[in-house]
């Protein structure tokens, strides 16, 4: 039989580790992408003495790569310090799974984001977050590094898909180097909106295409 995933991915898909909820978690987050529709919730318990992740669980409404990444990321995070866990990348998760199809990057990156957001949630609740920064072109660019170009599996900034970013009076304009009717135009628009709209001082996000 031929499956589109590595044996490790299939193993984690069939027997996901650390599944479920933690009652009264110290931090929790849900990440979802309207473009793919997948959703991941991550729950953490933190040992405040060592600042390490004492327990972590996840729930997934998603495809195989989403479930497998949720499983591996919880394994990778357990016992790590918050800073270490925050810095686990999609690449590390993917490598630990023996590789994921590039086109599935945006489904699987959710689990990585979910872990980071759960940690951020813990930090916010415990007054560990810095002040609100105003949105600049650089802030937008950083956020767009989380939007994956499904053609390559790499982010849209790195692959030069984002040609221009303008920020003015709460309006963010992003120019994408694709035809408007490109097969991924909808996905990319949705993901850009999702990443930029939540910024505290952004009122409107406009995604434009070069053709």
């Amino acid at each position: 039989m031929k499956f589109p995933y590595t044996d490790i991915v299939l193993e984690h898909f069939r027997h996901p580790r650390n599944v479920g909820r933690i009652e009264n978690p110290d931090g929790k987050a849900t990440e979802g992408s309207p473009a793919c529709g997948d959703m991941v919730s991550v729950y953490i318990k933190v040992d405040p003495k060592t600042n390490t992740i004492a327990d972590v669980k996840f729930e997934s409404y998603g495809c195989a790569s989403n479930i497998a990444t949720g499983s591996i990321i919880t394994e990778l995070a357990k016992g790590k310090t918050l800073d270490e866990a925050k810095n686990i990348t999609w690449k590390q998760a993917s490598d630990a799974l023996g590789g994921l199809p590039k086109i599935k990057a945006h489904c699987s990156v959710l689990a990585v984001e979910g872990l980071r957001s759960a940690i951020q949630n813990y930090e916010e609740r415990h007054g560990l977050v810095k002040e609100k920064k105003p949105t600049t072109v650089e802030v937008v660019r950083q956020r767009l590094r989380k939007v994956i170009n499904p053609l390559t599996g790499l982010n849209v900034v790195r692959t030069n898909l984002v040609q221009d970013i303008k920020v003015k009076d709460g309006t963010v304009r992003v120019l994408v180097d694709l035809p408007r009717d490109h097969q991924f135009a909808h996905n990319i628009t949705d993901e850009i909106l999702e990443k930029i709209e939540p910024l505290w001082d952004v009122k409107e996000v406009v995604v434009e295409f070069t053709e």
Binding site: R14, C36, G37, V40, S60, Y61, C63, Q183, N187
Partner: protein, 394 residues
């Protein structure tokens, strides 16, 4: 891992029937000449006669004359010829407006989009929650500029069968050509060109245990259509290219092998599948109409779980099905059909299409219900969705 494959994706492709292969065999090894004119050499004349016989058989199955049926490379090409051929013939003469439904399969939908880029105006008709086109809205959409209406006979995903006789009457009354994509209904649902006011019909062999890459287009006598696959004068000078004689023979054989009894058997399996799934798997919804649907099609959304996860689990247990989930598709777009019937992303995401064929049995249906009940329960146990709903019910 499974040791037996239970194939339930017969809308995508079907297993070839051995009898089709046997019928084709002589035209690979014995009579392989090109179909010549009546003044050609013997083997060429024999090839010509064979092609004519196959064409007559196909035409008869549609209640048509042989001159009204051309062979093509499949339903994609047939629908391209229908839409673009009519556009080329009538665009300058009559008008540049075309009407299609929103839930057409890609050959029609993307041909319409391609024509839009060439300056045609296209109306994409909405459908209701079960996938039906509103006939009044269709009538209102037709203008003096309209040259063609293309509405499918049945939907490729949710199986909804349109009232094409009524559509045909409207088009006839308004003097507009009517094309229907009958890829999934041909031989399974009655299609009679003597009774129905349809001008162009797309059909294919790949859905009825014939050869892939073999299809046809019915073109009513007198229909204004231009040639756009240029070359020789084959297929009544409407579609150039060397005739695929084994394919045509196989197509005729495939049509001959479909019986009303078989179609009834498929329908019984379909009903059994739908009834058991809806009764035994909580939070499941049928997509499409309960009985105005293809006899071989069932499409069900299992809420709170994602389609690719279900299909992969099923695959590991030896079942082949398809899903409308974005994660399953090449384009990462969720099914345009499910969104067309007003379904949200989640409904497309958790939808599974089961399509039955000649080689399926009632045991296969029972097995897939059993397997899916277990898989859905397992995936729901790890899903963040649906927990509250289940608690409320308990």
């Amino acid at each position: 891992m499974a040791d037996k494959l239970i194939y339930l994706d017969n809308a995508a492709a079907t297993r070839l029937d051995e009898r089709v292969l046997e019928a084709m065999r002589p035209y690979f090894f014995d009579t392989y000449a090109v179909a010549t004119s009546e003044f050609g050499y013997s083997q060429g004349i024999e090839a010509r006669e064979t092609l004519d016989e196959a064409r007559t058989a196909l035409a008869n199955s549609l209640g048509a004359a042989p001159e009204e049926f051309i062979f093509t490379s499949g339903s994609t090409e047939s629908s391209n010829i229908a839409l673009k051929g009519v556009a080329l013939a009538l665009g300058k003469k009559k008008g540049k407006h075309i009407i299609v439904s929103k839930i057409e399969d890609f050959p029609v939908l993307h041909s319409a989009q391609a024509l839009e880029k060439q300056g045609f105006r296209v109306t994409y008709l909405d459908v209701d929650g079960e996938g039906f086109v509103d006939l009044d809205r269709l009538r209102d959409s037709i203008t003096n500029e309209t040259i063609l209406v293309s509405i499918q006979h049945a939907n490729q995903e949710i199986g909804t069968i349109q009232d094409i006789e009524a559509v045909g009457r409207i088009c006839r009354e308004k003097e507009v050509l009517f094309h229907t994509d009958a890829t999934h209904t041909f031989t399974r649902v009655p299609l009679d060109m003597k009774k129905m006011a349809v001008d162009l019909v797309t059909v294919s062999a790949h859905t009825i245990h014939g050869l892939k890459g073999t299809g046809g287009l019915y073109i009513r006598q007198g229909t204004q259509i231009a040639k756009w696959v240029d070359g020789g004068f084959q297929e009544f000078n409407l579609r150039a290219g060397l005739e695929n004689i084994p394919g045509a023979v196989g197509f005729a054989k495939a049509v001959e092998l479909v019986t009303p009894e078989e179609t009834k058997r498929l329908q019984e399996m379909r009903d059994h599948l739908i009834d058991r799934m809806l009764a035994e798997i909580p939070h499941s919804t049928l997509n499409g109409h309960r009985w105005k649907r293809l006899p071989q099609n069932a499409n069900i959304t299992f809420h709170f779980v994602e389609g690719e996860s279900m299909t992969l689990h099923l695959d590991m247990r030896g079942f082949a099905v398809s899903t409308g989930s974005a994660c399953f598709s090449r384009s990462l777009e969720a099914s345009h059909v499910i969104s067309g019937i007003g379904g949200d992303h989640e409904r497309a995401h958790g939808s599974i299409r089961f399509t039955l064929g000649r080689y399926n049995t009632m045991e296969d249906v029972d097995a897939v219900v059993q397997a899916l009940a277990e898989i859905v329960e397992e995936l729901r146990s790890i899903s963040p969705l649906g927990k509250n709903e289940e608690k409320e019910e308990a």
